[in-house]
Symmetry: C2
Subunit: 398 residues, 2 copies
C-alpha cells in the first residue's frame, strides 16, 4: 500500500454544526482529508461537549464525532465575530450548518450574504425537515424523525409497542447524505467554478431509505408492519433463541433448506408438504417457527454456528458492543482506532469504513479542545497578530 495524499486534501470547510447529523457528516469529510474548522460559541461550544458519559470530564459522545477537526471559537452574535466569519468564508470552500431554518439569516449570514463574499462557496444546511415546507420550523430529534419517517412503524415485534432503532439512524443517514451532497458539489465546482446551496432534511433522508417497505406497500396496498427479526418473504430467515443467546440463520433457497434440515438433524422436514418451498415455509411460518425454536434451543450459539458454517449455511451471532470490539474481522480491518488525548489518555472509536488502495486512513489529530485552534486559524487565514487575537479574546469575540 502506498500512502498518497487523502482524497479530499486541500478542501476547506467552515463547520457550524453541532451534536450529531452535521458533525457526523463533517467527520466523514475530515477522515477523507478535508480541513474542518469547527466554529464554536466562546465558552460553550458544541452542545454535545456537555453530553455524558464522560472520561476525565471530556464527553465521549463529543469525542466520538469530532476527531480530525480543528476548533475555533467565534461569537457570531457580535459584528466583529461576523466580520471574521465572512473573511474566512472568502478563503473557504464549504460552509455547513445544522441550525433550525432561518437562524443563519437572522445572524445576517444566510446564503445570499455569503455568496456575495465568495460566489463559489458551497453552502449546506442539514435540518430536521429542511428549509421549506409546512414543518420547516418544527423542532426535530432523531426519535421524532424515526417516528414520522416510517422506520419505527416497521421495526419491533408484531403486536408489541414500536421500538426505536438503537442508534440515531435518522441523524446518521442525514449525515451520510450531507457528506455525499458536499463532495458532489465540490466535484462539480472543480469543473465549473460554480458554488451552490444544498438543503438536506432528515425526514427526506428517512423516506429515501425505506426501499423494500415502500415498494411492498406500493405493489400490494398492504401496510408494512414490524416483523421482529424475520424476513417478510423468506423463511427461515431470522434470529432463533439458543441455549445461551441467539443465532441468526438465513436460508434463502431450497438447496440451503435441505442442508439446514440435515444440519439440525430433522431430515423429515425436507419432504414435509407444509415446508416444501419458500412460499409454503413463509405461509406456514407459525408451525415451522414452533418446530425450529424447540430444536435450536438445544445447543449454544457457538455450537450452531460451527454446525451451520460446516454446511455453508449463512448464519451469525448477535454481537453485543463489547464482543464486537474483539471480533477478529473487525480487528483484521483495523476498524477500531485509538485516539490519544493528553487529558484522557487513549480512547477507542470506529475508524473510517472506506479503505482506499492509495490512502491509508489514520486519526491525524484528536477531537479538539474548545477553541484549541483559534489563534492558528486566525493567523493562517487572516494574518492576525498575537496582539489582535489577544484583544478579540478580551472582547469575547473569540
Amino acid at each position: 500500500m502506498h500512502m498518497d495524499n487523502p482524497p479530499l486534501e486541500g478542501v476547506k470547510v467552515l463547520d457550524l454544526t453541532h451534536v450529531l447529523a452535521g458533525p457526523f457528516a463533517t467527520m466523514i469529510l475530515a477522515d477523507l482529508g478535508a480541513e474542518i474548522v469547527k466554529i464554536e460559541k466562546p465558552g460553550v461550544g458544541d452542545d454535545s461537549r456537555t453530553f455524558g458519559p464522560f472520561i476525565k470530564n471530556e464527553s465521549v459522545y463529543f469525542m466520538s464525532l469530532n476527531r480530525n477537526k480543528k476548533s475555533v471559537t467565534l461569537n457570531l452574535k457580535t459584528e466583529k465575530g461576523r466580520n471574521i466569519f465572512l473573511k474566512l468564508v472568502e478563503k473557504f470552500d464549504v460552509v455547513v450548518e445544522n441550525f433550525r431554518p432561518g437562524v443563519m439569516e437572522k445572524l445576517g449570514l444566510g446564503y445570499d450574504v455569503l455568496r456575495r463574499v465568495n460566489s463559489s462557496i458551497i453552502y449546506v444546511s442539514c435540518s430536521g425537515f429542511g428549509s421549506y415546507g409546512p414543518y420547516a420550523n418544527k423542532p426535530a430529534y432523531d426519535i421524532i424523525i424515526q417516528g414520522m419517517g416510517g422506520i419505527m412503524s416497521i421495526t419491533g415485534e408484531p403486536g408489541r409497542p414500536p421500538v426505536r432503532v438503537g442508534t440515531s439512524i435518522s441523524d446518521i443517514v442525514a449525515g451520510l447524505f450531507t457528506a455525499i451532497s458536499i463532495i458532489s458539489a465540490l466535484y462539480k465546482r472543480n469543473l465549473t467554478g460554480e458554488g451552490c446551496r444544498i438543503d438536506v432534511s432528515m425526514l427526506d433522508c428517512q423516506v429515501a431509505i425505506l426501499e423494500n417497505a415502500l415498494a411492498r406497500y406500493l405493489a400490494t396496498g398492504k401496510v408494512p408492519e414490524p416483523l421482529g427479526s424475520r424476513h417478510p418473504s423468506i423463511t427461515p430467515f431470522e434470529a432463533f433463541k439458543t441455549k445461551n443467546g441467539y443465532v441468526i440463520v438465513a436460508v434463502g433457497n431450497n438447496k440451503l433448506w435441505k442442508k439446514f434440515c440435515e444440519a439440525i438433524k430433522k431430515t423429515e422436514l425436507i419432504s414435509d408438504q407444509r415446508f416444501k418451498n419458500n412460499e409454503l415455509r413463509t405461509k406456514n411460518y407459525n408451525s415451522l417457527k414452533k418446530i425450529l425454536s424447540k430444536i435450536l434451543a438445544e445447543k449454544t450459539t457457538e455450537e450452531w454456528i460451527k454446525i451451520f458454517e460446516e454446511k455453508g449455511i449463512p448464519c451469525g451471532p448477535i454481537n453485543t458492543v463489547d464482543k464486537l470490539l474483539n471480533d477478529p474481522q473487525i480487528k483484521a480491518r483495523q476498524m477500531i482506532v485509538e485516539i490519544f488525548k493528553p487529558k484522557t489518555g487513549k480512547i477507542k472509536a470506529p475508524a473510517s469504513p472506506i479503505k482506499f488502495s492509495n490512502f491509508e486512513y489514520r486519526v491525524r489529530f484528536p477531537p479538539p479542545n474548545l477553541g484549541e485552534h483559534t489563534a492558528e486559524i486566525l493567523k493562517k487565514f487572516l494574518s492576525l497578530t498575537d496582539q489582535q487575537i489577544k484583544k478579540l479574546r478580551e472582547e469575547k469575540v473569540i
Copy 2:
C-alpha cells in the same frame, strides 16, 4: 431555481452490482447525474428482478433501486464478453461490483487487470465483510450483518427477543459509504489523474454508525442494551400509547418538562421530588412511565400532538408507510416521485433527498428492461455495427 447540469454529469460508471447495497449506491450516483451502465447476465439479469412483489410481472423491488440507469447484457464468462467489458473499462471512470471477494479475479477481471487497461480507473468493491480478513469469504445478508454489527443488540424491547431494523439498514448504509467513496475518489482523480481501488465492507460500515452505543460502552464499561423506544439518558423521551395509536414526546430539559406537565394537566409533577430534574426522571423512570402512560392513553394521537405543539413541546406521530406518502411535508418537498414505464404505468418511489439550488432532481428515465440499452452502449462506446451486435446476440455474449 435555475436548472444547470447535474453535479456528476459526464461521470461514467460500469455497474456490476446486484440486489441492494451496490444498486443503492449507484442509484445515488445516477440521481446526481452520472451515466450508470448496469452490466447484467444475458437472460437473467440482476437477481432482484425476480424478487416480489410485482406489478404486471415487473419487480417493484428492482424498480425501486434502478431508475436513471441503463442496462446492458454481457456474459462475462465468455472471452468475447470479457473483451467487450475491458474495452468499455478503457472509456469509463468507475467500475463497481458487489460480488463475493475473488469473483472478479476468477473472471480475470480483478483490479490488477483493469488498471492495465485504464490506469485511472476507480475500482470499488462492496461486500459483506470486505476483501480481506478471516470472514472475507463468508456469505452475508443484511440480517447477518445487523446481528454481527451490534445494531440488533441495542434494538428492541428490554428482556425480549432481538429485532431487525425494519429496513435493510446494513445494505443501505454500506451503499451510502460506497457512494461517498466513489465521489471522493473522482474528486481526487480530477486533480491527480490517479485511479485507485476501494474496499467497502458492510460490517465495517455498521461499526462506523454505532456512535452513542460505542461511546457509552467505552466510557462506562456497561454493555448497551435495547431500550424499546426510550432514550438512554433523557426522560421522558419516547413513544407513549394513546387512545388510537402512539405519540412520541421528546422532553429534553427542565423548561420543557414544566410545559409538558402543564400540557398534560399534571402540574403537581413539576414539584414532585422524584422527577425534579432529568437525572432523577431517568433514575425513577419506572414510576414516571406508569403515571404518564395512564394519562397519555386518555386522548388520541392527534389531540396530543395539537396540545403539545401549542406548548412548543417536540412531539410527533408514528407514521405507517401509507400515511407517510400523504404527509404534507413529504409532498411539499416532492419526496415521492412518479416513474412511468409503459408496461407498468406510473409507479411511485422516493426521490433523491439532496436538494441543490443549481440542479433540480428528476427521474430522467425509468428502471431499464433487461438489456434495454445494450445496442445503444455498444454502438456509442465501441462503435459496433448492427451486424456485429446481432452476431453477439446469437452467440449469447450479450
